[in-house]
């Protein structure tokens, strides 16, 4: 609240809060008083024209304010001004000095710095002389300013364009805040808008706010700056094979991840896996479920061997389930904000965001998600959304058009083939990292989630049992081939053996031939020699003793 008014209500000046019945005017002003008393040590006076102090105390006790105690401590003074038309008769001139005196007395008695008049317009219904009333009110505001108290005046919203029924905004011109309680699609959203604020830079948008057990909370529609720290740290998706597709490391911390897919493709399982991985790393995780109850999720995840209960028990995981139609989008956002601020998780899961569409229009959902992502990025929280895409949607756009906002987008889709449905997953985008461009088959087993490489064969991409069949087929082929190979090998061996045998045979044959040839040769030599010898002997015998030298030399 202070953020959008640029520092809170104008000090020492009156502020007008107007709005329709039941939009929280009284509560807002009362919270202003109570917070002032508790947090800033400024006591306050609450003048009620509508409700009695006891009623007020009772009403706000439900949101945790203990008015009685504060009253006893003289921090707050509740005053009830009862105006009953039937008891009052007007005659002649009068003024509201009595009110002034009461107010002045109340302020002085506790040294109040803050004053609330709720709802001053009741004066108009009780009194008929409007001329006097208006003049007196103007005097009242002037007087309040002089007193230096910060005042809040509440007023009912008037018919048509006027901000208040009686045109109070004419008098209280320093700051005007309009509260609005709108019902769109059967869901009410409270909104707040600062119409006018002199001397202050204020947000002019409509800001949704909500009332819950902690009082009022307002949150800005968009954060003004787009400057966030970025982390280069990577965190695992909880599915090792998916991490492998993402450059082997997983997502960046503080990034936003969208998992989209048709019904029953296992989006929630992926999200739960992610949450589980975060808890395993001893990080805190918040899981917002818009479809299933926490117990349902825990039970369902047990079927894929994931025990979320132990993380819940360890206080690492918190599951929040709420039907989207429970409250308006803005309220959802506020609730998420609050839970995140309280629990301080490192990982947040929203499952699924598409359900939110039942509460608001596409534009609104998108605006909400932008704000949520902005907020989460600022807090360095990694967020995973799941989104349901319809089969009829041909384009790969998610309904909310958040795809451009997120950092990583996983698409899980059905692949219908051969009379069965299988899940295929691929990464549509992943900013700032190398990622696989392949379609993986995504299988959910008793052991958890795994990604299997799809079979890319001559018949195209095969998944599921077709892939298994193809694998089997291949294996058979392999076996057959190897069998054939061994047979051939053996034959070659045999051939070789035969040949070798033949070679040996030939060799021996050759040897015998060689021997034979050798024999002939030696015989011839021998014959030659013998005949030579013989001839010499014959010669010798013919010549007698002649030329023995010759013979000797020749012999040598």
């Amino acid at each position: 609240m202070d953020e959008i008014t640029g520092g809170g209500f104008p000090k020492g000046r009156p502020t007008l809060i107007c709005g329709e019945a039941g939009c929280g005017k009284t509560l807002l002003s009362l919270e202003f008083i109570v917070r002032g008393a508790i947090d800033y040590d400024e006591s306050g006076v609450f003048i009620a024209f509508e409700e009695k102090p006891e009623e007020l105390a009772m009403n706000v006790a439900s949101i945790g304010f203990d008015l009685k105690k504060l009253q006893k401590d003289n921090r707050i003074k509740l005053d009830y001004v009862h105006i009953d038309r039937s008891e009052i008769e007007e005659t002649g001139e009068y003024d509201l000095e009595g009110l002034f005196i009461r107010l002045g007395y109340a302020i002085d008695s506790i040294g109040a710095k803050r004053v609330v008049l709720d709802t001053i317009e009741n004066l108009f219904s009780g009194l008929t002389n409007q001329g006097i009333l208006r003049a007196e009110l103007r005097r009242l505001f002037q007087w309040l300013k002089e007193k230096g108290v910060t005042a809040i005046i509440t007023g009912e919203r008037g018919e048509g364009q006027s901000l208040t029924r009686q045109g109070l905004e004419e008098y209280v011109s320093d700051c005007v805040i309009l509260l609005d309680h709108r019902v769109i699609n059967q869901i009410s959203t409270r909104r707040l808008r600062i119409i006018k604020y002199r001397g202050s830079v204020h947000g002019t948008n409509e800001y949704p706010f909500m009332i819950d057990e902690d009082g009022i909370s307002v949150l800005p529609v968009t954060s003004l700056i787009l400057e966030k720290d970025v982390s280069t740290e990577r965190i695992s998706s909880g599915i090792p094979s998916l991490d492998k597709m993402l450059d082997g490391k997983g997502f960046f911390r503080g990034s936003s991840i969208l998992v989209s897919g048709t019904a029953g493709t296992g989006k929630t399982s992926i999200a739960a896996c992610f949450a589980n991985a975060a808890c395993e790393r001893k990080e805190r995780c918040l899981f917002f479920a818009f479809e299933e109850s926490p117990n349902q999720i825990i039970r369902n995840m047990r079927s894929i061997d994931m025990d979320l209960q132990k993380h819940v028990n360890a206080g690492l995981l918190e599951l929040h389930a709420a039907r989207p139609t429970l409250q308006g989008l803005e309220q959802h956002l506020v609730v998420i904000h609050k839970q995140i601020k309280r629990f301080k998780p490192q990982v947040v899961v929203l499952d699924p965001i598409t359900n939110l569409i039942s509460v608001g229009s596409v534009g609104e959902v998108k605006a909400m998600l932008v704000r949520l992502i902005d907020f989460l990025m600022e807090e360095q929280i990694t967020v995973m959304f799941t989104a349901l895409t319809l089969n009829t949607v041909v384009s790969e756009q998610t309904d909310e058009g958040v795809s451009s906002l997120v950092d990583a987008w996983l698409l899980v889709r059905d692949i219908e083939f051969n009379g069965e449905r299988n899940r295929g997953m691929y990464i549509m985008k992943s900013r700032g990292m190398k990622h696989s461009n392949q379609v993986r088959e995504f299988v959910i087993t008793d052991k958890g989630i795994d990604l299997v490489e799809v079979y890319l064969g001559p018949d195209g991409v095969l998944t599921g049992s077709a892939r298994e069949a193809q694998k089997l087929h291949e294996q058979t082929g392999l076996a057959l081939r190897s069998n054939a190979l061994t047979m051939k090998d053996r034959e070659i061996n045999r051939k070789r053996k035969v040949l070798e045998a033949q070679i040996a045979n030939l060799k021996t044959e050759f040897e015998s031939v060689e021997e034979e040839l050798n024999k002939v040769y030696i015989e011839e030599e021998l014959i030659k020699k013998v005949t030579g010898d013989n001839r010499e002997q014959i010669l010798k015998m013919r010549q007698g003793e002649g030329a023995p030298d010759n013979k000797k030399g020749k012999k040598k």
Partner: protein, 98 residues
């Protein structure tokens, strides 16, 4: 003070403003005229006793409160219109009654 009057009136004023004095004189005049001897007027100056304003739910000045008889009636203003004051106080002029 123990004597109970048929009419107990309380006039709240704040200081000695013309309106207050007008109211007081008007009131005294009417009472003398219509409720002779049966009334009691208490004048409270809120500037002196501001804490009393809460009790009778006073916001306008001057205010005339009829404490007795019940129910409590309030008349605000300087009481310049005699008929309205009398109707407001539930006192009918004697002439009308007869």
């Amino acid at each position: 003070m123990s004597k109970s009057y048929k009419y107990e009136l309380r006039l709240y004023i704040a200081g000695n403003t013309p309106k207050s004095t007008t109211a007081l004189t008007n009131l005294q005049k009417y009472c003398e005229e219509h409720l002779h001897g049966e009334y009691k007027i208490e004048v409270i100056d809120l500037l002196v006793q501001p804490q009393l304003a809460e009790g009778d739910q006073i916001f306008a000045i001057p205010t005339l409160v009829r404490k007795v008889p019940e129910p409590i009636r309030k008349i605000i203003g300087d009481l310049s219109n005699e008929e309205k004051v009398l109707v407001g106080l539930d006192i009918r002029p004697v002439t009308m009654q007869q």
